[in-house]
C-alpha cells in the first residue's frame, strides 16, 4: 500500500494501517537504529517513533510517511547515543521535520530499486558519499558546501532515471 494512503488511514485512527506501516518500514527503521545505537535499544527506538506518529500523525508525519519514520528513528537514536538517555526520554527532544517532502517522489522504502539506489550512492565521489553517511548516521557536519553538493548529486542521481522503480 502506498505511503499516502497508509498515512491517511493512520490519521483516521485505523490501527491496521499502523500495523501495515510497521510491516512496511519497521525492518528498515530498525536497521537504521541499530546502525546508530547498536541492537540493545534499537527496538525501543523504533517503537517510540511509530508511537509518535500514531499518537499525532499530522504533527509528526505527512504523506511521505517513511521519510518521517526514518527521520524520527534517526533523531531519537542520535539523542540516545549522544546523551545516554532512554528512548522514551529522547522522544521529548526530537522535533517534527518542518519542511514537507515532495509528494511526487516515489516512496523511498517501497518504490525504489534498492540495489540501484546503492549503486547511485556508490557512484558519488568517495568524499561526498562519506560526508552524507557521516551526516545521516552520525550527525557529523563536514563543510557545508561539500555537503550541499553531495545532496544535490544524490538527488540528481535519483531523479535522473538511473534509479528505477521496482516491480512490486
Amino acid at each position: 500500500m502506498a505511503a499516502p494512503e497508509l498515512f491517511q488511514r493512520i490519521v483516521e485512527g485505523d490501527e491496521i494501517a499502523l500495523r501495515d506501516a510497521f510491516r512496511a518500514y519497521g525492518a528498515t527503521a530498525r536497521e537504521l537504529a541499530r546502525r546508530i545505537v547498536g541492537p540493545d535499544e534499537a527496538d525501543d527506538i523504533v517503537e517510540e517513533a511509530f508511537l509518535l506518529i500514531w499518537t499525532d500523525p499530522e504533527h509528526w508525519a505527512s504523506a511521505a510517511m517513511e521519510v518521517h519514520i526514518l527521520r524520527l528513528v534517526r533523531d531519537i537514536a542520535l539523542a540516545v547515543r549522544r546523551r545516554g538517555i532512554t528512548p522514551a526520554v529522547a522522544v521529548d527532544e526530537v522535533q517534527p521535520f518542518p519542511i514537507g517532502p515532495v509528494p511526487g517522489l516515489p516512496d523511498v522504502v517501497h518504490d525504489l530499486d534498492h540495489e540501484a539506489l546503492q549503486r547511485a550512492v556508490l557512484r558519488l565521489p568517495l568524499d561526498r558519499g562519506r560526508h552524507l553517511e557521516d551526516a545521516w548516521f552520525d550527525a557529523i557536519r563536514h563543510d557545508d558546501e561539500s555537503l550541499n553538493k553531495a545532496m544535490d548529486a544524490l538527488v540528481e542521481n535519483i531523479n535522473s532515471g538511473r534509479i528505477v522503480r521496482s516491480d512490486r
Binding site: 483516521e12 510497521f22 517503537e47 521535520f97 519542511i99 545521516w136 550541499n148 545532496m151 538527488v155
Partner: protein
C-alpha cells in the same frame, strides 16, 4: 549561477539533516521558508537523506519479529484507542467463522442469561481478529448495566501448560489479571467480567487476551510477547 554559488554556501544540507544548533537552525529555517528557489532546490533532500538508509544498510524485511509488532500495537491502543476498525480484520477471519459465531451465540445464550443478555439483543460489539489464522473475538458490552462479556471462536489448541488469560486495561495504563478461560472442543469460549472489576476510580478502558503459562509467570502484569489483542471498551 552566482545565485546557486551563494546558496551553496548556506548550511542547507546541514539544516535538512538536522545538524544545526538551535539558533542557527532557526535562522536557516527562516531563510528556507522565505525563499522559494531554495525550497525548490532542497525539496527532495529529506527523501534523499532517507534513501541513504536504504542504500547503505542491508535490510531483511522479513526480520521484523511479530513480538515487536504486538508490543507496538498494544502500546498504541493505550496511547490512542483506534477510531476505525478496518473491515480487513473481519476478512482475515476464516470462512465460516461468522456461522460459528451465530451457532455459538445461540448455544451460549443460556450462559449469558444471568447477565441479562437476551438472544434477540443485537450484538453491540465488533468482531475482532485475534490472530491471522482465524481466532476471533467479540465484546458484548452492556453499558447500562455495567456488564461485559466476551466470546471467542477459532481459538487454537494450547499446550497442556497454557491457558487463555484475560487482562483488564485501566485508564492509567495499569494492566491487571482478569479471568482465565478454556476453549471448548470447537475452539469457542465465553467469558464474563465481574462487575466488581468495574468499580474503580481507574476506569476500565479495554481488555487484553493472551496465552498464559500460570506456572511460569508470577501474578502481576503480563509479558508483552504473547498478547493477542486488546479490545477497546470504546
Amino acid at each position: 549561477m552566482t545565485s546557486r554559488t551563494t546558496r551553496s554556501e548556506q548550511p542547507l544540507a546541514a539544516f535538512f539533516l538536522g545538524l544545526l544548533p538551535p539558533q542557527e537552525h532557526d535562522e536557516v529555517e527562516r531563510l528556507v521558508r522565505s525563499d522559494p528557489a531554495i525550497r525548490r532546490r532542497c525539496a527532495a533532500w529529506p527523501t534523499a537523506a532517507a534513501a541513504i538508509t536504504c542504500a547503505t544498510l542491508v535490510v531483511d524485511t522479513n526480520q521484523v519479529e511479530a513480538r515487536l509488532e504486538q508490543r507496538l500495537i498494544q502500546r498504541a491502543r493505550i496511547e490512542r484507542p483506534p477510531a476505525v476498525h478496518s473491515h480487513r480484520a473481519l476478512r482475515v477471519a476464516r470462512r465460516g467463522a461468522l456461522g460459528v459465531l451465530l451457532v455459538g451465540l445461540v448455544s451460549i445464550a443460556a450462559f449469558f442469561g444471568y447477565l441479562a443478555f437476551r438472544p434477540d439483543e443485537p450484538i453491540s460489539g465488533r468482531a475482532i481478529a485475534l490472530t491471522d489464522d482465524g481466532a476471533t473475538g467479540v465484546l458484548l458490552p452492556k453499558y447500562e448495566d455495567r456488564l461485559f462479556a466476551l466470546i471467542f471462536w477459532g481459538l487454537p489448541q494450547l499446550s497442556v501448560s497454557e491457558t487463555w488469560q484475560l487482562w483488564l486495561v485501566r485508564e492509567s495504563g495499569a494492566i491487571e489479571p482478569g479471568p482465565r478461560f478454556e476453549r471448548d472442543a470447537e475452539g469457542r469460549a465465553a467469558v464474563s467480567i465481574n462487575p466488581n472489576a468495574l468499580e474503580s476510580d481507574d476506569e476500565l478502558i479495554g481488555f487484553v487476551v493472551s496465552r498464559d503459562v500460570p506456572a511460569g509467570r508470577p501474578d502481576g502484569t503480563p509479558t508483552s510477547d504473547d498478547i493477542l489483542y486488546q479490545f477497546s471498551r470504546q
